[in-house]
């Protein structure tokens, strides 16, 4: 079955979505990621959606769910690389993904994730 790879990079999980994310694939990703979070004890998740042309309301909601799930499993989530057209569509759909931190690219996302996990540790 088609799966989206989840890479571990030091204490973070790196998810790069390179294929069209259809509904079933998104649910599989959600399962895999929560599983991986519990086994790896990662402190953060970085989801790169720079290859996604289309994000519909279901995918948007699933991404928001993944972020909430990661939070209660003590990991921060940063969504990076959203395209302008996708951002406009999501806002028009009324989904501003309030709970998720965002960054422009993987580089900035990594910096933000490091910062977030540091501030979480100091608490």
């Amino acid at each position: 079955m088609e799966r989206i790879p989840i890479l571990q990079l030091q204490q973070f999980l790196l998810v790069t979505i390179q294929v069209e994310l259809h509904d079933q694939l998104a649910i599989t990703l959600q399962d895999d990621l929560t599983e991986k979070l519990s086994t790896s004890r990662a402190k953060g998740v970085l989801i790169d959606i720079s290859a996604l042309d289309i994000v519909d309301s279901f995918i948007g909601r699933t991404l928001a769910h993944i972020a909430s799930m990661a939070r209660i499993m003590d990991a921060a989530t940063v969504l990076v690389g959203m395209r302008p057209a996708v951002a406009i569509t999501l806002v028009e759909l009324g989904m501003s993904l309030k709970g998720i931190d965002t960054a422009l690219n993987v580089d900035k996302g990594m910096a933000l994730l490091t910062e977030l996990s540091k501030s979480a540790e100091s608490r």
């Binding site: 959203m82 951002a87 806002v91």
Partner: protein, 284 residues
């Protein structure tokens, strides 16, 4: 089909005199003298007569179908478009076709003896030229509308510049009313600016926005939300006293968007968020 043959003969035989009278009439009646040279007018008139004659010869039905009529229409479209750009008035443009009626009538009258046939031919000429005249008018209007649309687009683009104030700090000075269409353009240019400059902070300056009502506020919040999805934080600056009052009276909730009264305050905050500061030089 006798009236068609009659008309064709008239067009062939009295071409020169029709042309002479037509051009004279156009020069006399035209209110926009000097916009076009007589030589150019003569050239246009000659060309039109020749395509018109071809079309009549091929198919003089009142439906005006077939490749020859298409050619006539293409010619008229080009003529109307060029006249619209040259600044002719709509009636002057339509006059190009309508003023052909009189010389053509005269030519038909001079050659046709049979009164019944004369009536038929005149009716045909009127019907053909009326249709072409209306078509000219429509084509004129189309090209004017294109001009207006292009200007509107230019106005939209002009009024939404995205400037880089500092490394990673963008400013978007908004001028004029924000409607949904402009919000769309503003949003697009801001998001593209964020990608191009790798910006982390965007300052939206609304000093030039005359009024902020619930709809405008909603549009602003949408823009802020979209920028946030791209990983950029937004600061809204340039909130004038009246605007602050309106926003509060209307009960608009700007949420957790940072607002500053002036662009300089916003820049100071943005620099601070980026871990930078502007300090006076130490004196030696």
């Amino acid at each position: 089909m006798s009236q068609v043959q009659g008309l064709t003969t008239v067009l062939e035989e009295s071409e020169q005199s029709i042309l002479q009278n037509w051009i004279k009439l156009q020069v006399e009646t035209s209110g926009s003298r000097g916009l076009i040279k007589e030589a150019e007018l003569r050239n246009q008139a000659t060309n039109f007569l020749s395509v018109f004659r071809n079309a009549v010869q091929e198919n003089a039905g009142e439906q005006q179908q077939g490749p020859a009529w298409d050619e006539v229409r293409t010619f008229l479209s080009a003529l109307s478009a060029s006249r619209a750009l040259q600044g002719f008035s709509p009636s002057d443009t339509a006059l190009f076709v309508f003023s052909l009626k009189q010389p053509l009538f005269e030519a038909v009258q001079a050659t046709t003896r049979n009164s019944e046939q004369l009536v038929d031919e005149l009716r045909l000429v009127t019907s053909l030229l009326d249709k072409l005249g209306l078509y000219t008018f429509e084509a004129y209007q189309r090209s004017r509308e294109q001009v207006i649309q292009r200007q509107q687009q230019e106005l939209l683009d002009l009024s939404t510049p995205v400037v880089e104030l500092w490394d990673g700090i963008l400013a978007l000075p908004l001028i004029g009313t924000l409607d949904s269409e402009r919000t769309q353009t503003v949003m697009e240019s801001l998001l593209e600016g964020i990608v191009a400059h790798e910006a982390t902070i965007a300052i939206i300056d609304i000093t030039g926005v005359p009024t902020v009502d619930t709809l405008v506020a909603q549009h602003l919040l949408k823009t802020v939300a979209a920028a946030r999805l791209m990983g950029a934080q937004c600061i809204i600056s340039g909130i004038r006293p009246q605007i602050a009052q309106t926003i509060v009276h209307l009960g608009v909730d700007l949420g957790d968007v940072t607002t500053k009264s002036s662009l300089s305050e916003a820049l100071r905050l943005a620099l601070q968020k980026n871990g930078q500061t502007i300090a006076p030089l130490a004196k030696h």
